[in-house]
Symmetry: C2
Subunit: 223 residues, 2 copies
Amino acid sequence: CFEIGGLTKIYGEGEAAVAALRGIDLTIGDGELVVLLGPSGSGKSTFLNILGGLDAPSAGHVRFHGADITKFDDRDLTRWRRDSVGFIFQSYNLMPGLTADENVRLVTEIAADPMPVSEALEAVGLAKRGKHFPSELSGGEQQRVAIARAIAKRPKVLLCDEPTGALDSATSRRVLEVLVDVARREQATVIMVTHHQGIAPIADRVIRFRDGQVEEDVRNDNP
Amino acid sequence: CFEIGGLTKIYGEGEAAVAALRGIDLTIGDGELVVLLGPSGSGKSTFLNILGGLDAPSAGHVRFHGADITKFDDRDLTRWRRDSVGFIFQSYNLMPGLTADENVRLVTEIAADPMPVSEALEAVGLAKRGKHFPSELSGGEQQRVAIARAIAKRPKVLLCDEPTGALDSATSRRVLEVLVDVARREQATVIMVTHHQGIAPIADRVIRFRDGQVEEDVRNDNP
Ligand SMILES: Nc1ncnc2c1ncn2[C@@H]1O[C@H](COP(=O)(O)OP(=O)(O)OP(=O)(O)O)[C@@H](O)[C@H]1O
Ligand SMILES: Nc1ncnc2c1ncn2[C@@H]1O[C@H](COP(=O)(O)OP(=O)(O)OP(=O)(O)O)[C@@H](O)[C@H]1O
Ligand SMILES: [Mg+2]
Ligand SMILES: [Mg+2]
């Protein structure tokens, strides 16, 4: 599981300092589906970035199966991100010079037991758009390529930052089913930042942030 | 008003051709608040980009108060975009090397009767973040700077592409009230692409796209 203690992140210094996370304590069990809610600016992306090894905290620790990610050197961080984490970024972060196919393949080529690229794109309804570049795709299509890229590596940990922000409700529902389905088969731990109302009922747990702290943590016993 | 006839946009050629818009006919009255819905990939952003003078159609026309925007030369297009249209982009399109203040000022400095920069940022709850760069702001904060930039010029036409996609429901509601309020005071025509359920009831009209065509066009007589 994830064991998070005293997680703190402060940007800038002095008067300009912004406390993005102010001491987060959480334990998240393996295979749990956690929904993370909270107002704009409350620290959700910062939290996900630290768990995914993309950023370092100012204080506190994050242990996954006993290993403290926040103390990893560059090589271990790279391995953590590459092998264990599927990350769906709030701004997709696709490589603009690669097609949709190539963006997914970049990740599956180095994975231990990946999904075929076509299967991942098929799952998000983009089987026919593989040869297009991100600039030739709509906002929601780019987001779906980012999702395909994350699920294709069959990760142990799936960190999703607003994975359906650009999608209409029918496409959102389909994409969420795919995400949850893949996660269940891999017994992956999923932490999903989302405003999508439909997901909270199927989550095991709903955590609410406010101003960099946990305001509420509700276990859902009837998902 | 906007008078749109036979608006068509085809990307690519031959087998790879994608028909993003397949003959759109619409008339939108001055001061109308139109919500534009439709599945991912149905042509909403393409439509907005053409109306905003950011893209040209393959066929058809768009007349605004009698002038055909699709026949404008570069100079008239620049003037149309700069003076008459406030555009909130699906991917924000902020200048990464300018602070939030400077991003808004860039637009107000050349406007005829702009809002003060501080007032625009205040309206979206970011009065204290003006000195930060986009990379130092959360997703929802970047989106709100993009909104401040669009309303600050007090445009005749407000084209909003998912303006609340990255915002939690409380912040969304506040931002939508601000947008509608500014539009009403300026008697601006608003075309808003959004999945946000809360806005359809206050719109004058809800238009639904599917596969590059108008599938439904419902006037709301009790907004
Ligand atoms: N440069 C391009 N080359 C090829 N196809 C393109 C290009 N730009 C857009 N498209 C396609 O045109 C169609 C309409 O795109 P558009 O961005 O207008 O959709 P949208 O309704 O805004 O979708 P979303 O809700 O996902 O943002 C999509 O299928 C998209 O992939
Ligand atoms: N490099 C930075 N310098 C200063 N402040 C920063 C920086 N990066 C993030 N912040 C601030 O940290 C706070 C938390 O940001 P974060 O992106 O985690 O919020 P969020 O909950 O994901 O918001 P949203 O829902 O808008 O995406 C915000 O106030 C943001 O402006
Ligand atoms: Mg965020
Ligand atoms: Mg779009």
